[in-house]
């Protein structure tokens, strides 16, 4: 017998138009979630059984550690814009938290570039 929870897997996503998943809301502040903003589930035992199935899947995916917004969208097979709306709601309700992406400051770039180069060299020789 199938548990009620299992009847609402991500397959159901394809049966509804994207804005239905976001309860008709438009896009949130686009600056809050970048493609590479790193997201994880907040610590603590939060009940997810009353969340929409897509939000529940998202929180579950993020329980394992940090992932970028793009990876979350890829794994859940949802458009980026939809994932941003879901994340915005979940962050507000305390289910997920983020790490800020690299600031575009010049100084940070110099250091990041050196680390990228060193990392690539170490990995690929």
């Amino acid at each position: 017998m199938t548990a009620p929870d299992d009847e609402l897997g991500p397959e159901s996503v394809e049966l509804v138009r994207p804005y239905v998943i976001t309860n008709g809301r438009g896009l949130p502040d686009r600056d809050r979630f970048d493609l590479i903003t790193l997201v994880t589930a907040s610590a603590g035992d939060r009940r997810t059984d009353r969340l929409d199935p897509e939000k529940r899947s998202l929180v579950k995916l993020c329980e394992g550690g940090y992932l970028s917004v793009a990876e979350i969208a890829g794994h859940l097979r949802l458009p980026i814009g939809i994932v941003k709306v879901l994340l915005s709601d979940l962050a507000e309700a305390g289910y997920v938290q983020t790490r800020t992406p690299v600031p575009p400051a010049q100084l940070a770039d110099i250091q990041v570039l050196q680390e990228v180069l060193d990392g690539l060299q170490a990995r690929f020789g």
């Binding site: 970048d34 590479i36 394992g64 793009a70 890829g74 992406p101 570039l113 990228v116 170490a122 690929f124």
Partner: protein
């Protein structure tokens, strides 16, 4: 499709990762972007889609047919954890002018772009080069060598693509890990030289 397909052990980032950086891998259709990303990525490349609704007036080929149209743009991307605090994402996307919304998202915070070109189809690279330049993203050219492709002289390419004298041109085989990594490193060295 099994929605609960098991995710591998290395899906999530190591706990200490603090910084995410982004480099774009761009080029025309079928130039080898996804192959390049797949060769270097530590995870199987993922695909995300952005759905856009546009007013019909902005879409030349559908003008007059209906008021609105929805376009889906796919982006393939991969990931490389480069040290315990830094992860690099490689994003590949096609270069159509009308996907402006996606380009704004993609280019924000990007360190630079590697433009893959096929020497036999140079003209097809012009549109994507225009976009990269429009968004002010510093770039290097990587000539993806397909089997049996005769190499063209760098100077010939530089002239055909109207490149600045300092823009790097590297040759790579997108299927080869080392060759692809070398192309990426050439871009990073160029980006470093610009910040000095």
């Amino acid at each position: 499709m099994d929605s609960r397909r098991a995710l591998g052990d290395n899906v999530h980032l190591p706990e200490k990762v603090q910084i995410a950086a982004k480099i774009l891998v761009v080029g025309h259709f079928a130039v080898g972007k996804t192959t390049f990303i797949g060769t270097l990525s530590e995870i199987p490349p993922l695909r995300t889609e952005e759905t856009m609704t546009q007013a019909g007036a902005d879409v030349d080929d559908l003008k007059g047919i209906r008021g609105k149209t929805t376009t889906t743009v796919a982006m393939d991307f991969g990931r490389l954890t480069l040290n315990e605090r830094l992860v690099l994402y490689l994003f590949g996307t096609p270069g159509q002018q009308r996907f402006v919304q996606v380009w704004e998202d993609m280019t924000r915070g990007a360190l630079g772009a590697l433009i893959l070109v096929d020497p036999q189809r140079l003209r097809e690279s012009f549109a994507v080069m225009d976009l990269v330049e429009k968004y002010g993203i510093p770039y290097a050219i990587a000539v993806n060598r397909f089997d049996g492709t005769p190499s063209r002289a760098d100077e010939e390419l530089r002239e055909a693509l109207d490149l600045l004298p300092e823009t790097p041109i590297v040759t790579c085989d997108a299927r080869d890990e080392r060759s692809s990594a070398n192309a990426l490193m050439a871009l990073v060295r160029y980006l470093q030289s610009r910040t000095r």
